[in-house]
Symmetry: C2
Subunit: 302 residues, 2 copies
């Protein structure tokens, strides 16, 4: 027996995401679920209303007129939901202490520095420690309190929260590209200079997985400080990898089309079950959550 259930409020959030992003897959990424799930939920809404809300195109989902009419109240709902969430967050008590955050080396370099800067400003009473490590066991051994991971931890006794995904890209200074020339189709990217990391192996491994046999020395300029790394790229020392959303907004930089696909980085926050209620932990968690949400793709919602 089919049940034509009352429209669930959660479904409206899904409707919004699909309408705004134009595809089930993109909406699924924003919401941290899979594409079939989003598809089925959209189907349920159309079923419930008896109206076609999207026309299925090869390029994605195009909202019909009916769907457009629903957008305004849906956005009003989101606004109210945000307000509610903020109100709730404001009710949690605050207190000092030290919070240790662990992330992969890559995330520590590429994502965390500006986040930590804002965290210092927003919660000066809390001391921070950043543990850059690719070991995943830190939380269990209590070497850190909160982990930012690029996968969903499967351990017991931890609490996780999906944040979103960060899109990476390859960028170079306009200056440099003027000198070295823009890449032609089929061109060999290896002829360019690359800015790399000194101690970190991830970039090297990434290149090797893509079929380019390079070693650490391949990167003609190396630096372990992310802020400096980025300045080296902007100064024209060579091509470098960074967050696409940030780099694209930089007028001095130009995106370089890659021959292969860079993985998107999903972000998961994790905290051990037993300590997550401590006020300082809650506070850091809340700020991390907000900042990372703003960084992750699909954050145009606010």
């Amino acid at each position: 027996m089919a049940v034509l259930s009352r429209l669930e409020w959660s479904h409206i959030e899904v409707l919004l995401a699909v309408a705004e992003l134009g595809s089930l897959s993109a909406a699924a990424r924003r919401l941290g679920v899979t594409q079939p799930t989003v598809g089925r939920q959209i189907g349920a809404i159309e079923e419930c209303f008896g109206v076609e809300l999207f026309t299925r195109l090869a390029s994605g989902m195009e909202p019909t007129e009916a769907a457009m009419a629903l957008l305004e109240p849906a956005r009003a709902m989101r606004e109210a939901a945000n307000k509610l969430e903020l109100t709730a967050a404001g009710r949690s008590e605050t207190a000092g202490g030290t919070v240790r955050v662990t992330t992969s080396v890559f995330i520590a370099h590429h994502v965390m520095p500006p986040v930590f800067a804002r965290l210092r400003r927003l919660a000066p009473e809390i001391s921070l420690e950043l543990v850059a490590s690719d070991t995943t066991e830190n939380l269990l051994f209590r070497e850190a309190d909160i982990a930012v991971r690029m996968f969903r931890p499967r351990q017991l006794d931890v609490v996780t929260r999906f944040i979103g995904e960060v899109e990476l890209g390859l960028f170079g200074a306009k200056d440099y590209l003027d000198r070295a020339g823009r890449p032609e189709r089929g061109d060999d990217l290896l002829r360019y200079d690359f800015v790399g990391y000194d101690r970190e192996e991830q970039l090297v491994q990434g290149f090797r997985q893509a079929g380019f046999n390079v070693d650490r020395e391949f990167f003609t300029t190396r630096c372990d400080n992310q802020a400096t790394y980025w300045e080296l790229v902007r100064a024209g020392c060579g091509l470098g990898f960074g967050q696409a959303s940030i780099a694209r907004a930089d007028p001095d930089l130009e995106e370089v089309p890659l021959g292969f696909e860079l993985p998107r980085l999903p972000i998961w926050l994790t905290v051990p079950d037993v300590i997550r209620h401590r006020p300082a932990i809650r506070r850091v968690w809340a700020v991390l959550e907000a900042d990372l949400l703003a960084i992750a793709d699909g954050s145009e919602q606010r």
Copy 2:
């Protein structure tokens, strides 16, 4: 592993219901789910926010200060959701035809007449037929298009929608009670005159189940028209049963405490799967839904 998931919008609806009705059970009745479900969802919200939202009393759930602070944005969400639902409903095409609605005899007498009146006014292009019958198979044999039932149908190939519950009560005119005297504790209610139905047996059976051995003649005044029935009660012909929410608002009437509990009437809308997309059906369904929602308990939401 525990997942501290993003707050789901549906949960806010639950929060609202519990805060407004003051108990898990009442909220569950309004939402058409069971009490443990509501309890767990409230738990999940508190978990997510890290704040106690309700103090558990024996008499129910009392909202804490934190919960009160969330009420205003939550109501804003509900308002937006209502607007969205109305917008969506307005998008369905309209067309004439005849729609047959079947209900139990009891519902046909007690609930439907004013609903049908409004339905006539709102959709004059649709002819209506009311089939009062306690047989549950009408839909299968296609004797009717839409059924209003006091239970959730379990057949295949039909679509159902929970509406809410109607509370019944025993009432008498102030006039009449002045004459006959108010009942004392332990008093025998049978000494009063009762207004009953002529052809309907449900009231008789109800009395028998409550331990009073009465027959049809016990009802000193009888009438098969619900509107007239009610006027007879208001005129002081005796005590009569009716919708509590309506009767309590009537200054001429007084509620008479009963020695036993009257069952609440849950309301389910049902339509066969294959015809529910026909415009006239959709239209009648939408009006029935709106009207019955307004009648059912817990409708103070609008």
